[in-house]
Symmetry: C2
C-alpha cells in the first residue's frame, strides 16, 4: 500500500506552522521566512527553484526525501493561495510560477471547486471539495501506486493526522516563539503513541523529528 | 552580577510544561512522568534522590549544570505543592521529604505567605507575596553573589522571561503532544531575539535547547 507522507513541515517552539496575517506579500504572515530559513540554503530547495549549488549537510539530507517516490500531493487551499471564499477569477495558479516544483497531480482541498489546471513540468492542480479520506482516495488513484504527500498547511496536516491517515511525518522545530498563527498540534493529544520517533539536531539550530507509523 | 538561570525545564511539542489535573498523586497532572522520563536515568537525578549510579550521556551532561554556582532558587507555589488559596495548615513542606535537593534558600511565590521553614541539608523555604523583580531582589541578596535559579513551574518561568529577567534558559523538548495543561511560551512572541540559542538532540529522543542572553 502506498504511504502518506509529510515532509519539511516547520513549526515554531510554540507549535505554529504559519503566522498571522497571510497575504499575497506574506505567504506565512508575520512569520516571514523565519520558519523556513533553515531550508533555503539547502541543495534541495535550490533545485526546487531551478538554481544550482546549495548545502549538503543534515538539513539537506532530511529535506531531500520530500520527492522520492511521491505520485501526488494534497494541499489545503491556504497553501495554494491567500484568497478566501468563492474564486473571483481563475487566474491565480499558486505561488510557484508556470512550472511548479511538484511535477505530479496536486489535489487542492477547497469548498469552491474550479476546473483543473495543467501546469508546465508535470504538475496538474485539481480542486476538490471532499473530506480527507475521500481526497486521499482520489490522490492515491492518481499516484499510480506511489506515495501521497500531504503538503500543508498546518490545518490540512492536522486533519490527516487526526484521522490517523499519516504514515510518515517529518517536522522541523525552529527555535523561535511565533506567538500567533495556526497551530499544528491542536487536538492531537497523545498522537506520538501511534509512531516511532527519531530526533536529530542541526547546526543551523533546528531540530528534525520524524514520526514513523508503528 | 549574578545570573538568573532556568535548568532542565521540560516542555511537550505543543509547549506544555505541565499537564492538567495536578494533585498530590499527580504533581504533573495527566502528563504523568512523560515530561521527565529522560531525566530519571541520569546520574544527576539519581544523586538528587540519594541514589548511586545513573547514565553519563548527553542528557546527564545537560542536566548536571543545574546546581553549579546556584545560591538561591525561586519557585511558584504550584511547584511547591498542589494546594490553592489560604493554607489549611503548615504541615506541607513540599514534595521532597525532610531533606530537599536544593540546599539553598528557596523563595516560594504565593499570595498567602507563611513562616519560613528550615529543612535538613541547607534548604530553607521562604514564602513571599511579591512581583518577580522584588522576589529576585530578595533571592539575589540571599544568594550571596551566586546565581539564582528559577525552578518552575511554567507560569513562573514565563513571568520571569516576560520581564526579561532570565540570562540562561535550558529547555528540553520532549516529542509528545500533551494537548492540555499550562503552556510555557504564551505571551513570549519573539523572545528568541534576546538570546543566542544552541540545540542538541539526545538518543533518548529529547532535544536540549539553551538560550543565552545576548
Amino acid at each position: 500500500m502506498s504511504q502518506v507522507r509529510v515532509h519539511n513541515f516547520s513549526v515554531s517552539l510554540d507549535g505554529y506552522g504559519t503566522g498571522e496575517g497571510l497575504s499575497l506579500d506574506a505567504p506565512f504572515g508575520h512569520a516571514g521566512d523565519r520558519l523556513h530559513s533553515w531550508f533555503f540554503p539547502t541543495r534541495t530547495f535550490r533545485a526546487m527553484i531551478g538554481e544550482e549549488g546549495g548545502d549538503l549537510g543534515v538539513d539537506n539530507a532530511m529535506a531531500r526525501a520530500w520527492a522520492d517516490g511521491i505520485g501526488a500531493e494534497i494541499m489545503g487551499r491556504g497553501k495554494f493561495g491567500p484568497q478566501h471564499g468563492p474564486w473571483q477569477d481563475h487566474e491565480w495558479n499558486g505561488w510557484w510560477g508556470p512550472e511548479p516544483p511538484f511535477r505530479t497531480p496536486v489535489f487542492v482541498m477547497t469548498h469552491h471547486p474550479r476546473p483543473a489546471v495543467e501546469m508546465q513540468g508535470g504538475t496538474t492542480f485539481h480542486f476538490v471539495d471532499a473530506p480527507p479520506r475521500e481526497v486521499l482516495r482520489q490522490a492515491r488513484e492518481a499516484a499510480g501506486g506511489l506515495d501521497v504527500r500531504i503538503g500543508g498547511g498546518p490545518s490540512t496536516v492536522r486533519a490527516f493526522l487526526a484521522e490517523d491517515l499519516v504514515d510518515h511525518l517529518h517536522v522541523v522545530v525552529v527555535p523561535i516563539v511565533l506567538g500567533r498563527g495556526v497551530r499544528l498540534w491542536d487536538g492531537l493529544e497523545g498522537m506520538e503513541q501511534r509512531f516511532r520517533t527519531e530526533t536529530v539536531a542541526s547546526p543551523s539550530g533546528v531540530t528534525h523529528l520524524t514520526f514513523t507509523k508503528i
